[in-house]
Symmetry: D2
Subunit: 143 residues, 4 copies
């Protein structure tokens, strides 16, 4: 059976504070959107990031990349897609795509690479339960 990793679509309304003097969403704000979407994904998989921290793990970001295609503007409803694309021994990679409201236009896409570390901040192997919980799709869980 093919392994499926968690994914989610998060709708997000662009606020005025997220725009800049160019009249569009400031480039660093999309990096916040990435975080909102991967947080939503973990929460939907019933493993909110708070639970991960309670279990003694943190997932600090090691790398981020973002390619900007088309700007979002004030009051736009954007759709942020997040999914896990790869588990390595001690890290996990997420990919993101942000679309306009009717999904006809890709606004930006990117990725984050996260280390898995313990409370002391030392890299540790990904616990099997973490990988499993985040590898079942929400729908599959309910089936």
């Amino acid at each position: 059976m093919e392994e499926t990793f968690a994914e989610t679509w998060l709708p997000h309304r662009v606020s005025y504070g997220e725009t800049d003097a160019m009249g569009v969403v400031y480039y660093a704000e999309y990096i916040h959107y990435f975080e909102r979407a991967r947080g939503a994904m973990c929460r939907e998989a019933n493993l909110g990031y708070g639970k991960i921290e309670e279990a003694g793990f943190m997932l600090p970001v090691r790398e981020v990349e973002c390619r900007y295609r088309s700007p979002a503007r004030y009051d736009d409803l954007v759709l942020v897609h997040a999914r896990i694309v790869e588990w390595r021994r001690a890290s996990v990679r997420f990919e993101y795509e942000i679309y306009n409201e009717d999904r006809t236009k890709l606004l930006c896409e990117g990725m984050t690479l996260h280390a898995v570390v313990n409370r002391e901040g030392r890299p540790v192997a990904v616990p099997e339960w973490m990988k499993e919980t985040l590898s079942r799709k929400k729908d599959a869980e309910q089936a």
Copy 2:
């Protein structure tokens, strides 16, 4: 007949980027929440802030106040209540209350006072249509 001004409740999920090293939501972020909620209120009244700008008006903030009661934390779902409480000749006053998810705890409350200005930034009298549109409750409009 009693005049009723627009109001709304906006749910908002606290992101990691909104927290600070004290482990709670950073104090300036609540001011962003105020903006999100008054934007939602205007949009629900079918007079999104973008439309106000297209009509040649801006509502720059003249004053903001916020009193912090109890902190919100990462991943909390908070409820932001916004309403217009007073129209003056050339300004409008909003009040806000932010509650925890089940509305049992008031997290903070505050207000913003906005000038009504034209494209050149000069204060102008509140247009009657603006006041009217934002004075009907959403439910009343649909009745």
Copy 3:
């Protein structure tokens, strides 16, 4: 002898990320400037906020107020004045004024009221050493 409380002037360069689609600094950013200036003030008094936390105290904000007079724009160098204006039994009040580069124009002014709490978050009386350290001006200390 008259008691003098700590104060400081902090220069700050407006970044693009601090502006909004109106072409000016977003209203919540000034609240960040307040924090930068009171942090600088504590650091100059040789009692950086980190030291206050190490000593077992936190100064969570209970109230903030800001009145906006004139907007700052991208690349402006603004000057943020912060000073302590009042010590109460278990709280301290800061006031702020933000000016343009040559101090000919007041951009905004405001205040923050902070509780003094211990590590458990309980309000405690202001320790005498804290008040004393933050009550000597930098110049006076060096004299």
Copy 4:
């Protein structure tokens, strides 16, 4: 003669608002630091970004990358190095390195790729004067 592109070192004090619940600077804030440093670089070359916009050009970001090595914390003074590393026909690439105060530790490094567009947002060839102005080092200018 070897061509030299503009570069700068920008000191930046970490504010409390830039930290997150992990006790370190939030990952998107470094992207703001990149912007502060390239803005400083342009300003030092006497071609502040405001002047670029007045001349009818904008430099929207097309790509950003950041690799995180070691976290910065509240009140740290970090040093942000920015330099132009490549001019293409219609774009320009900046690279960044952020160090701790005594430059003994690399905190993060990254790059941004910017299109050169006109007021209508259409890509245009890099004007020769822009490339020249940003290709002389500050010291060289003063010699």
